[in-house]
């Protein structure tokens, strides 16, 4: 019976392009990664479902306590990011128009400037850039706060007070961050559209404002608004749920909190990109 030697591979035999045996260590490593990925998806999925379930079933419970927490999260994840998102929107508008208008001018196709802004800013860059900014600003802080709370035993203290930790700690963040991402995305899109035209104006591009905004309006359909709303709320829920999961779901020692924050950010980015790919498919089908 042939045995696998650690790390060894057989050289391709004559007429056979592939090695005869794959090293066990490699298979073990791949298996561990897949198992870890499966466990993570399973844990995250369960946590998201539980959190959404609590949000729905306890929506009328303790509103005098929960609503101020939601407002606090909207302020922290939304209002405080207005200057930064405004700057980002301004820069995006400049970049997109700056890159495209000059090319379009060469081929006499400036009538497509509005369509390009809708396709790039409204459908893709706007939601994704806003989400990444919120994740950077609030996501890591959420993991650290909740991880520290968990490590300090505050979750057990809530349970001892007959307060559902998911209802008190997670639901306000789910609702607040989802609202914040949606609102900030609309704000970023508006700023980007305006700054895009400003660039064109400064560059003496032959594009009248009524033509520019008319193109944008013509390129938009009601589905864009619906999908934008769904997308941004989904992104907000994802980053809130993933960061809360990494802060709360496992007992953390204080020295593990920073590692959990890094994992949360990476997984949030991956999840949002996967969801974005699904929405691209929907746009293509539309």
């Amino acid at each position: 019976m042939p045995t696998f030697s650690s790390g060894a591979t057989d050289a391709p035999s004559e007429g056979n392009l592939f090695p005869a045996r794959i090293p066990r260590r490699f298979l073990n490593a791949v298996g561990r990664v897949l198992l870890g990925l499966t466990n993570t998806i399973h844990g995250l999925g369960a946590f998201i479902l539980i959190s959404l379930g609590v949000a729905l079933t306890k929506s009328g419970l303790a509103p005098r306590v929960i609503r101020p927490l939601i407002r606090s999260q909207i302020y922290r994840a939304g209002v405080r990011l207005l200057p930064m998102v405004g700057f980002l929107g301004f820069a995006l508008g400049f970049v997109v128009i700056g890159q495209t208008v000059s090319l379009l001018s060469r081929v006499g196709a400036t009538k497509y400037a509005g369509l390009i802004m809708v396709s790039s800013i409204v459908r893709e860059l706007g939601p994704l850039a806003t989400t990444l900014l919120v994740l950077a600003r609030v996501g890591t802080a959420t993991v650290i706060e909740l991880g520290t709370s968990r490590a300090m035993g505050e979750v057990e203290a809530l349970e001892a007070l007959a307060i559902d930790p998911i209802h008190y700690l997670v639901v306000p963040r789910l609702a607040g961050i989802a609202v914040a991402v949606s609102g900030l995305t609309v704000y970023l899109i508006l700023v980007a559209l305006i700054s895009g035209y400003l660039f064109a104006f400064v560059q003496d591009v032959p594009l009248r404002p009524e033509d520019y905004f008319g193109q944008i309006a013509a390129a938009l359909s009601w589905e864009d608004f619906v999908l934008l709303g769904i997308k941004t709320i989904s992104f907000g829920i994802i980053i809130a749920a993933v960061t809360c999961y990494h802060g709360l779901a496992q007992p953390l020692r204080l020295e593990e909190v920073s590692g959990a924050a890094t994992s949360a950010v990476m997984q949030s980015v991956v999840a949002c990109i996967i969801l974005d790919a699904i929405f691209i498919t929907v746009y293509l089908v539309m």
């Binding site: 005098r64 709370s149 057990e156 203290a157 001892a160 007070l161 007959a162 307060i163």
Partner: protein
Amino acid sequence: MEETSVMEMQQVAVASAGPKKIVRAEDVNWSVAAKDFWVVGGLPGAGKSDLLATAAGLIPPERGKHTLFGKEANALTEEELVELRARIGFVFSYGGRLFQHLTVAENVALPICYHQNISPAEAANRVEPIVELAGLSEYGHLRPDWVPRYLHPRVALARAMALAPDLLFLDNPLAGLAPRESRWWLDLLDQLAAGHPLFEKKPMTLVVGTDHLRPWREHGRQFALIQDKHWFALGDRAALSSISNPLARELLTAEGFGN
């Protein structure tokens, strides 16, 4: 009709909290009646904290039957569990697990505001007397970081009393305290056990876990020991003088913190 048994364990195995379940005590048969004042002693690491947490319904028992106020804890719906937990107060050991982002008054107000759906301002007339009873009036507006560390257990006690519980668990409340502070605790617990005017003079059932039995021998009414994963009922105060268990005698006579 007044309940006679507020907590009962029959052949319960107590496991530690966390993913790795380690059995800390086996075959625990323990009945806590209304108005009791139990003191459970044991060496550090013997499992007193896990025992108290299991008795309070925070950790499910590994096996056996556990009832709270006559209802089996494992068979409760979520609503029933919340209702029962609101009748139980728990003071955690070593700092009390305070909410660091809230002030002292907000820590105490949180359970009141959550369960009665009122704002902190509306809860103030209930929070202030409790904060005053705990001797924390001058610290009410401060976060725990700014409160002297030896007062953190008092904040935890005030928070545990916020809903006027029928049953109060205290995990090693005298740990690391100076004698004067320990006397304050013992005096207050005596008042709670006898019935404090703030709680309509209704006697509170107390269960204390402790590393040292000596400070409690003139205050507790029923005593027990947890040793080598076993539960031993030691009896009442009178029985303590004739106790033969070597560890119990050591905990009853040893000098230490909180004496």
